[in-house]
């Protein structure tokens, strides 16, 4: 059972590493806000969804980068 859990944990760590270092990962704080607002939120064509996305970017920036 311990081996199964250990293997499962290793897979999780590997997946996290892949996700974290993929070229599409979130940029560092000095580029985060403009990336989030102008690249990430661009996928929303509904105005209200877009504005919610922009507000979320600002919240994330304040929470994690200031």
């Amino acid at each position: 059972m311990k081996k199964v859990l250990l293997a499962f944990f290793m897979v999780l760590v590997l997946l996290a590493a892949i996700v974290d270092f993929s070229p599409a990962s979130v940029p560092p704080c000095d580029q985060y806000l403009e990336w989030c607002v102008f690249t990430y939120c661009r996928q929303y064509y509904n105005p209200d969804q877009y504005l919610q996305c922009v507000n979320k970017c600002a919240e994330n920036y304040v929470l994690n980068c200031l």
Binding site: L33, W35, F38, Y40, R42, Q43, Y45, V54, N55, V62
Partner: protein, 342 residues
Amino acid sequence: MDKKLLCLIIILAIFPFSGYADLKKVISIGSDDINYRFFGVAGAVLDDQGNVYICDSKGSFLRKYDPNGMFIKEIGRYGQGPGEFSNTISGLYFSDGLFVLDTGNNRIVELDQELNIKRYIKLSRLALSIMGFGNNLYMISRIPDRFSFEVEIRDREGNYIKSFFDRRPVFIERIEQSKIGQAISLIYSSIAATVERKTGEVAITFQWPGETIEIFMFSKDGEFIKKIVSDHIIKYDFPEFRLKGLPSNLRFPDKSNLIMIRSIHSLDEKRLLLEYWVNEYNQDKAVKENEYILIVDKNSGQLVHRELLPLKSGIADAIKNYICVISNEGDVPEVVVYRLDY
């Protein structure tokens, strides 16, 4: 006056401002067929022959369709190597060739019209969008150490030439300069720009306008030419309450409007097209939304035509009387080319 005649006069007076009367669908690309299926369209452009190029960010590919919307070619897959794109492609531009802004791989990819890759231009800074004319590439990017944006000119090898445009909307000055205020400043000082394909003239506007629409005209070398001022279609001033802090911490007024100029396009040497959102809010909830195409005369700044655009879509490109619209909503994302006759 005869009632019928009066009705006719009223209808004729209203007609230019009603519905999608002058917007005719030319082609629609997007279906379940493998060559027409999209996952997240990030950019679409028309070349001078009417071919349509579409880049899909989620699918990491670029496709070419003929003027009838028939599939011609596809290139790309996810990756960082030659012929590969990231899944954060954020734009496509046509100017004597194609330019794809591959944000995830920090590079611009230049291709010919047959989708053969000509070169990669490595980026040292995050570019928000790209345009081009002649040997110049124009990139909108953040001014280093400031909370606003500029246009950077580079040559086609990627070498820096100069930057221009350091203006911000007037209402930004009312924001307190706290850390949160700086973040809000960055969001609300964003700009949209376009390059005229024949002359290289650059037009820049603020995406969040104040009480008028200001459009700044520059030469292809970044020299200021003039400012065009155009009126809103409703009485408007940027809502003050949005400037004081994060919207989630604010008390919203009962009703407000918020206008955004999502994109600007040079149709020809005389006309600019603005993609113009009007969102009506009650408390913090959007209760009514309309998206318009506004056509503005470059010389006078006069609004010469306005047209409703189908909701939940965005304009990717516009040239002459053709408008290329992306819709990622619904089961099948699609790109639609409209002809605007007015």
